[in-house]
């Protein structure tokens, strides 16, 4: 363990890859993250599971996890997915605007922070590659989980393959254009 930590500190050289290129994981790599993550007991995370349950139900019931709906979207044969994503973005935008405008805090009184993200080539190349995968499998990462629990067990292979893809990206990250 100790040696692992030593290597980590030794590797810390400033450069583009030390900056956070990740939209979803806000961690060590950003230089000035002073997030006051309040220490909370594990069961406090159950509320996120409840939101997840609602999300999973919507995924299935609105057929967002259907390969057919994704194919129709990319062939402009149906408005459904555009309606779903468009409405979600509008509702999300209004919510974020309200939170910023009235400086609304979390239920535990923590300030809500939004960090601006910088452009890098990953959004173009990676975005294109993800688009290919999305049209092939008919699923983005969230729906994969709902498909599996809805009984399509073969999707476990797709999920494992996606984990492998993530790992391979991590392995070659420093050699890829960003």
């Amino acid at each position: 363990m100790a040696t692992k930590n030593d290597t980590m500190t030794a590797q810390k050289t400033p450069g583009i890859l030390d900056k956070d290129t990740d939209f979803e994981v806000r961690i060590d790599q950003t230089i000035c993250v002073n997030k006051s993550e309040q220490e909370t007991p594990l069961w406090h995370n159950l509320k996120y599971a409840l939101v997840g349950i609602l999300f999973g139900i919507v995924f299935i019931k609105a057929e967002i996890v259907s390969w057919f709906r994704i194919q129709e979207m990319f062939r402009l044969q149906s408005f459904h997915m555009y309606g779903v994503i468009g409405t979600a973005v509008v509702v999300g935008m209004i919510s974020v605007w309200l939170i910023k405008r009235f400086k609304i805090k979390t239920v535990s009184g923590e300030e809500i922070d939004f960090q601006p993200k910088k452009f890098n080539k990953g959004q173009i190349i990676g975005g294109l590659l993800f688009g290919f995968g999305w049209a092939l499998t008919g699923a983005c990462p969230g729906p994969l989980f709902a498909q599996i629990s809805a009984g399509f067990l073969v999707i476990i292979v797709v999920l494992l393959s996606a984990v492998a893809g993530t790992w391979v990206y991590g392995y070659f990250r420093t050699r890829l254009p960003h």
């Binding site: 919510s95 989980f145 629990s149």
Partner: protein, 190 residues
């Protein structure tokens, strides 16, 4: 009572689904300053099980446990919807798509995924292998390279008016259009 249940069992319209998904953004922010995103879980899986000394996977994934709970919730939700309030009818598919798919030998639309592609037998065919294994790989590689997926970029990123997210979202769509219209017809004939 029965009519309400019947209504719930029918496929939900886009505006209901869109509004509920949009509300996840403020729900997560208000619950604990969490930013909506799912593909990060694939990274956490790597960090947990096979970090292999790769710097990208060296971080305290335990701080991101909320996201794991969120995904477990999706699993439970998917099970609930498919078990108790499933649509009893076949999936309604655009006739133009049905016609195209019939040309590739795909006629099943009983459930959300056609069994001619999404089954263990199909996985052993060249076409099934390319679609499931290569497709899954591209989903995992692409989302992490782009720094997020449909939820992290298209919904959370756009909600926060982030230009990089707009670029990513446009590229997701460009990739999807190219694959579905130009490459998939070739792959389907494999």
């Amino acid at each position: 009572m029965e009519t309400i249940l019947d209504t719930i069992r029918q496929p939900w319209p886009w505006y209901v689904a869109g509004a509920l998904i949009g509300l996840i953004v403020p729900a997560l922010l208000l619950m604990g300053n969490k930013h909506f995103g799912i593909s990060a879980n694939l990274r956490h899986a790597c960090a947990t099980f096979f970090p292999a000394g790769i710097k990208f996977f060296q971080y305290d994934w335990k701080k991101e446990l909320w996201n794991l709970f969120f995904v477990v919730g999706i699993l439970i939700g998917g099970f609930i919807a498919a078990t108790w309030i499933a649509n009893p009818n076949p999936v309604v598919v655009d006739p133009r798509l049905m016609e195209e798919l019939a040309g590739y030998g795909i006629t099943d639309h009983e459930t959300l995924l056609p069994k001619e592609i999404f089954s263990w037998e199909a996985l052993l065919t060249v076409r099934g292998f390319v679609m499931l294994v290569l497709g899954g790989f591209l989903v995992g590689f692409g989302t992490r390279y782009a720094g997020g997926c449909t939820s992290g970029h298209a919904i959370m990123g756009l909600s926060n008016l982030q230009l990089p997210s707009l670029v990513a979202t446009i590229m997701f769509m460009v990739g999807g259009f190219i694959m579905a219209n130009l490459l998939l017809p070739l792959i389907m004939r494999l």
